[in-house]
Amino acid sequence: MSATKDIRLMKGNEAFAEGIIRAGCDGYFGYPITPQSEVLEYLSIQKTKERTGMVVLQAESEIASIHMVYGGAGCGKRVVTSSSSPGISLMQEGFSYLAGAELPCLLMNVVRGGPGLGTIQPSQSDYFQAVKGGGHGDYKMIVLAPASVQEMYDFTKLGFDLAFKYRTQVMILSDGAIGQMMEKVELDEQIPRLTDEEIIKKYPWVTTGKTSDRERNYITSLDLNPARHEILNRKFQAKFKKIEQNEVRFERIDCDDAEYLFVAYGSSARVCEKAVQLGRAKGIKIGLLRLITLFPFPYDEVARLAKQVEGILTIEMSAGQMIEDVRLGVNGAVQVEHFGRLGGIMPAPEEVLNVMEEKFIKTKVYA
């Protein structure tokens, strides 16, 4: 252990890149796209091959990147790709196959506005795609939503741990603001990459060459036998259920005595945090439920808070996606409204506070 802390000023994308190196990543495959190109650039200049032995490869497309990830993950390696919205759309095929073959890997989407080429400015309009599926078939992936550059770094190790704990994909759902902004980050010691021997011991399912002491291993998402395939799918669902039971993460900010509640994640949560301070300075008891995992979604916590507060306002840089899950959790217990900016515009704290007051407080009818 070093005596002094290793603290640096970094962009979110760079913190992610440094994070995967230090978390013992074996391979990164990616394709440039704004606003996340710094990831591949940072990894390229780091000479990772010399630093830790990590492979970094620029692929010919996001389709190729994600299938390279598939190949590496099938060998039990810690593999990563990242992109931004249009590239993530291309990867959906791969996500579905990774889910079907139960391969662990870490993904990041630095979300920009859509649909189509949209804009390169930050957005949160890929929530449905990340949380509800995106690719074909019944599957989920763990979705982590960083709200700071520090979390862009921290969620890399957490992401690998969760991915291998459950043999699942983990996506860091960031956005253009978190990816591009600079903040201080506290770095950890380098975690050594696993050796092939360690991988084979830890993960007996990997394809590393059939030795005489075991049956052949194969990685596939195919099973043409309906009865077996139903059992397999039920196994997937049981895994997602277990994730829902064990891995819900959120942060309660000034929630204990809150009468009004923001629900938000990522950049929007940062905006809301400031709005909570502004509101409290005016004497309004506002709190913020900041979501850290989007899948699994903290339905129970939302339900608890719904019984306590007089109104919930969800803030998203989208036309309203996460609000559907919030309403599922609230289940009609209290009024839930959405406010969002589109086109790559971030709302201001005063703006969201004003909406809260307009929707719930000024219109309040006193008996």
Binding site: Y70, G71, C75, G94, A101, K210, R216, N217, I219
Partner: protein, 260 residues
């Protein structure tokens, strides 16, 4: 005369008299291919070579989407099943992270030369140190005989029922010639397995391809022009004859790029 032979069947079938047997690198699963199809022979050739070169413990294969999608059921080696066309990307991921393993893809013409063109060209162009086995039967076998990028002009398929009109449906793609032009490929050859002599040649080509991968020479590409008697709607014998008369003139057998 049989009845006058001085030796019985039991006396012949002894281990010491064995001259040829199935490699243990083929599993006991019954092949799902149509009788007469080339896929089974090609599987066996590749497995025989891997066995003879003692590479079972060092081999990772990538199965495609196509009739050979279940190759991992038949080949007694570690394998990964890839999405349609993506085998070269999957193999790239494997080989880059496991550089000491022997990594190959096994792909059909639809898989490799249509949906997976980009992955194929770029893996070849990067000189990925892998081996691609490319089974060209001029048709989409698995999905029931639709037109492939390799379907010959005027050839009838389920989606070119009046024959492939090149003016509206495009020309057959000689992707192997294209791949041979790329600096990343080291050895590019086109073979077949429809006669014993051709099987022997194909086996040699497979041996070379594996040797070159061991020597880190870059990408080796072995095309095998094969039949699809079901898709072509012919008997196996007719299919092989048709292949000789129609496929080979357009896809001539032999080495296309050999190391200097």
């Amino acid at each position: 005369m049989l009845e006058t032979l001085p030796i019985t069947k039991e006396e012949i079938c002894k281990p010491e008299n064995l001259v040829y047997s199935r490699t243990h690198l083929m599993t006991d699963a019954a092949l799902s291919y149509c009788p007469g199809c080339g896929h089974g022979t090609i599987h066996r050739m590749i497995m025989e070579v891997i066995d003879e070169m003692n590479l079972q413990a060092d081999t990772i294969g990538v199965a495609p989407v196509g009739c050979s999608v279940l190759a991992y059921e038949f080949l007694n080696i570690d394998m990964q099943q890839a999405a349609h066309g993506r085998a070269p990307a999957v193999a790239t991921g494997i080989k880059r992270l496991m550089p000491n393993k022997f990594v190959f893809t096994y792909q059909g013409d639809g898989d490799l030369a249509a949906i997976g063109t980009a992955e194929t060209i770029h893996a070849c162009n990067r000189g990925e140190n892998i081996t691609i086995f490319y089974v060209n039967n001029g048709i989409y076998g698995m999905t029931g005989g639709q037109m492939a990028p390799t379907t010959l002009p005027q050839m009838k398929t389920a989606t070119s029922p009046f024959g492939r009109n090149v003016e509206t449906m495009g020309y057959p793609l000689k992707i192997t010639e294209l791949i041979a032009m790329l600096p990343g490929t080291y050895f590019v050859t086109r073979q077949s397995v429809h006669t014993a002599a051709n099987v022997r040649k194909t086996k040699k080509a497979i041996q070379k391809a594996i040797e070159y991968q061991k020597l880190n020479k870059g990408l080796s590409f072995v095309e095998i022009v094969s039949n699809c008697n079901s898709g072509w709607k012919m008997t196996p014998v007719e299919a092989n004859k048709w292949m000789e008369e129609n496929m080979f003139p357009f896809y001539p057998l032999g080495d296309i790029k050999v190391p200097k």
